[in-house]
Amino acid sequence: MKTRKLNHIILYNEGVDDNVDLPQIASYLKDRLGRIDVEIRSSLFSQELSPEQISFYSKRLASARISSANQFWEEHEPLYGEVEYEKRSIQGKTKSIGILYEGIELQLIYSELVPQTESNLRCVNIVLTKRLFATWDNANKRYHARVVLLGIPSLISTTGIIEAPAKPRDYYILKQQYEMIGKDLLELGERFSGQYIDYDDDRMTEIIKGYAMQSVFYYLTGTPFCQDSRCRLFNAHWQDEMISAQLHGEYELCPKHAYLLSDL
């Protein structure tokens, strides 16, 4: 398989939590990719934006919200409060999460902010964000939350790492019961402790390394995922698959992908 030549990797920090060690992720990529520059930058929204641009992007973000997972997103006029919330999020004044965005729309907004000279397939742009996004699945007519969305830029959602891959089946059965009787859901977290990645999880940095590598392979080859569940490029749909591939895999990358990397 032929690989594309890369010359630069940029990790944009879109307000991720302190448990994400970005320098460690940058070192990991640098270590595995050799001579390629790896740079950490602050949010794409942190560049100098005029008040008009802030209003414009706030409105775009607000209208990229999905209100129903079962209904395909349509461009709509956002509510005043939604726009104000996004304005605060752009300015780094809120760190709350829980809004679900239409992934492609969100990526489009970020893509407009990537500097033109770096908007190409030789420069890997990765946005690390807390925003949760989903993409429409036409087969079962609903949205599915995603960890990663590949493109220019690639988006990696730390909230997606927690919420997108499914937790153990028993977790959902018990959750339903807990909600019915008004029992504290935090207790549920203790019961399944370690079986899924949670908020403030100290395994988050290690998990992100694998998704960053998927982004790199997307730029390198156009095919980011691997069928081998022991490879970090495995596209996990369950938390245990993700934890296994990213933290307890037999090897870091399968022989095929390890070779591609060594041959750069």
Binding site: S67, E77, Y80, G81, T94, G98, I181, G182, D184
Partner: protein, 260 residues
């Protein structure tokens, strides 16, 4: 044997009720702020607004004030509050027990009655057994008051209760009607805005989001409490009340900025 109570006739009792009620009603046909819904968020907003010297009337469709704050979840009368909202319990003098770091529980009746008392003590007035019927709209659909009627009227067949509502005015209206978001819905019915509908339960995130989205949703109309969830399609949060109390504080703050 001497009688314990003063010799007061029936007409005096009736006259006191009518006189006092009419006097307050007359005074509150115009106020700074009308809050629709007397649950924890509405009460907290009312309490803070009156403490800042504003004239506030809470319209409550039930006879009792307090909404769902009397009971936690599943008809169990213990309410929970997550950090940092226990600060408000301290402020109101509500005793609580720490269940684990970040989570406290309090007695529902104690918490609710203390909050109602705090609102009353600071000067909030109530129109209970009164149902919100519609909005008073002015130029550019600015909200300028509410149309209301006695709750029993809406519960009776239309044929035998042809009772017109009345309207009262205010500079700000706060929708604290809970999941129904009844006041905002009155705008939606007219096609003025489109609410998103309530999201699914996501306790861990919903409280932050509800407080974050509390604010003016339309000129003259502020939305607070669980109505915020319905208006913006935010996740539901289950039986915990910290966000309700804190959203009430935010609603009051936003209203005060508008009332300058």
């Amino acid at each position: 044997m001497d009688k314990k109570f003063s010799p007061i006739g029936e007409k005096d009792v009736t006259s006191a009720i009518v006189g006092e009620f009419a006097s307050q009603f007359q005074e509150y046909v115009e106020s700074d702020c009308i809050i629709v819904g007397g649950g924890p968020s509405g009460l907290m907003a009312g309490r803070n607004l009156t403490r800042a010297g504003k004239k506030v009337l809470i319209v409550e469709r039930n006879n009792y004030i307090g909404g769902g704050f009397w009971i936690g979840g599943y008809l169990m009368n213990k309410i929970t509050v997550r950090h940092p909202a226990e600060r408000i319990l301290d402020e109101l003098g509500i005793p609580y027990k720490e269940i684990k770091p970040g989570l406290v529980a309090a007695d529902g009746p104690h918490a609710c009655s203390k909050l109602i008392a705090a609102a009353c003590d600071s000067g909030v007035k109530f129109a209970n057994m009164t149902t919100f019927d519609d909005l008073v709209l002015r130029e550019d659909n600015r909200v300028a008051g509410v149309v209301m009627n006695w709750t029993p009227v809406s519960a009776m067949p239309r044929e035998i209760t042809c009772v017109d509502p009345v309207a009262i005015e205010s500079r700000i209206v706060i929708d604290a009607t809970g999941h129904d978001a009844r006041v905002v819905m009155a705008l939606e019915t007219r096609g003025i805005l489109k609410t998103r509908g309530m999201g699914s339960m996501w306790v861990d995130q919903s409280e932050d989001l509800i407080v974050e989205h509390t604010g003016e949703v339309h000129p003259g109309l502020i939305v607070t409490g669980m109505a915020v969830s319905t208006v913006y399609g935010l996740p539901r949060m289950g039986p915990t009340f910290g966000a309700m109390l804190m959203a009430g504080e935010v609603a009051a703050q936003v209203a005060l900025e508008k009332l300058v």
